[in-house]
Symmetry: C2
Amino acid sequence: MSDETYYGQASLGPYELLELGDWTLGSGQVIHDCKLAVSTHGILNDNRDNVVLVPTWYSGSSRHVADTYIGEGRALDPKRYFIVVANQIGGGLSTSPNNYPDRTEFPSTSISDDVRAQERALSDHFGIEKLAMIFGASMGGQQGFEWAVRYLMKVERLAVLAATPLATPYTKFLLKGMADTLTTQDSSVDAAVRRHAMWWTTFGWSPDFLRDEDYNALGLEGIDQFVEEFMVPYFAAMDPRVLLAMANKAIAADVCSFTGKPVDITLGGVTANTLVMSISEDRIFPPSEVAAHGKLIPSCTTRELKSRHGHLAIFGADPDFLLSLDAALDSLLSQDV
Amino acid sequence: MSDETYYGQASLGPYELLELGDWTLGSGQVIHDCKLAVSTHGILNDNRDNVVLVPTWYSGSSRHVADTYIGEGRALDPKRYFIVVANQIGGGLSTSPNNYPDRTEFPSTSISDDVRAQERALSDHFGIEKLAMIFGASMGGQQGFEWAVRYLMKVERLAVLAATPLATPYTKFLLKGMADTLTTQDSSVDAAVRRHAMWWTTFGWSPDFLRDEDYNALGLEGIDQFVEEFMVPYFAAMDPRVLLAMANKAIAADVCSFTGKPVDITLGGVTANTLVMSISEDRIFPPSEVAAHGKLIPSCTTRELKSRHGHLAIFGADPDFLLSLDAALDSLLSQDV
């Protein structure tokens, strides 16, 4: 592992490489001569009971974690704790696609592979059998949850920031879109229509709607059926050129083009009695964004309407939402102008 | 325009086509023999002052709008109002890429092109010079805002649902990702790295952070510099294979794989003293999702930490956020186990 790469000691060190030998993954595949890169901070006490483990997040490293979270007077204080920051297998510093001898064959790994490797390395190299705390953010939190489930008796405290113990439908689809940015995509129209439908599945509705399978009220059973029998066919009937024509309009939308003035001046000149409504779980036009613009209009009332349907509450499948919308419109229509 | 397509009368009618002749767009390009497809509901009164205009949303049609929002006893009551639902130019029913004679040359259009066409068509075909209300959802709302800015004296009331008067940085980047699903993408590594950096710009931070240019506190000036000098270089230094290895782990994360039991049973068995924290504006692991899982763990405290930095508050550039995080970790570490 060269020190000259982004992942080397010069850039992201210091770290040490704990040997795991040939490491068998949960899938049954083997990573040969597997090494776990860790940085340690502070001193392991005689009882070995002052250990804080911090696994890394997506794109992160032990260096990022240490710089941000560890320091004297901080919660993660190396004067009090022996803090081990464990870099992910596959994350660039530990054994990973960039430093594996046979670069074409680095196997897929899972959160549990990291957690098992950390447990083994802490035990073998430091004699650690108990963690005073695990703290993990984002993917580090996913590893923290796995520790607390898998090694019940070894985890005294678990602190998780900005993570869930499993990828929910929303987060799974969202992250799939992120991974897709890095890969060459099928250029067929069918594939494009499917990607587009998955985008709308992810962002059109709300995380709660997807997680709690609210779509079953539409007569569907399970996420696969929702995607295959509702979202894909809905958009597949349309012409992609038409969808693109509309999308590009929405992206370029700007009322200031007409006035040539800043948005506060432009909206400050609106004379219509105005009602600006947002939807509580809207991922596309978030309530904070809608309200921030509504308040720039002199005669404007802003309201946040509740719906677990997110942006696609506009489709009208949430009857309570439609009732609250109609009441708001009635109120505006009855205002004298 | 054939009636047999998805956009035809059989599927999305009835609608009528209002002739605009050769219609000059704001860009200077011309749509030849431009037609605006509208459906009307109710009767225009003698004073022509009972008009409600409803422009359509992305992928929507006058049929969708009428089915969802118009009806006797509803706010949009055809017994009281003359309701005109105007389909977008380019939206499939009005003159659009799918029905334009020279299909390769349908020009780009803008929100203001729709609004100008609607104003002209309402005046020429119905003698309408004043709107009792415009109601628009999503892209329909973008058109509503444009009406209220452009034709001040013609708009008595404006009701907008789930839209902003300009595409904010967050919504612009989000919708760009949506449009990208429909197009063939550059398969070079450089392009992939850039797409990936744009994804993180969109979802890593919060809409408020992007809109109010909070990143300028990091020493940057404007969104272009933020993207080019911070987000792209940050990820460009990394190995895409490493990023993909991590992304695929995050997507597959599932603590239930180990227990083989449902998530409530799996988390119900956790014995660690647990603290589960979310970040207020997190788009990747939303607070509602984090809290929903935290409450399944017996000895768990859940907290929502405030930060305008969204998910990437984990980077530590928000000092107040770090203070609240350290306080929460101190509190957990001081708990007896």
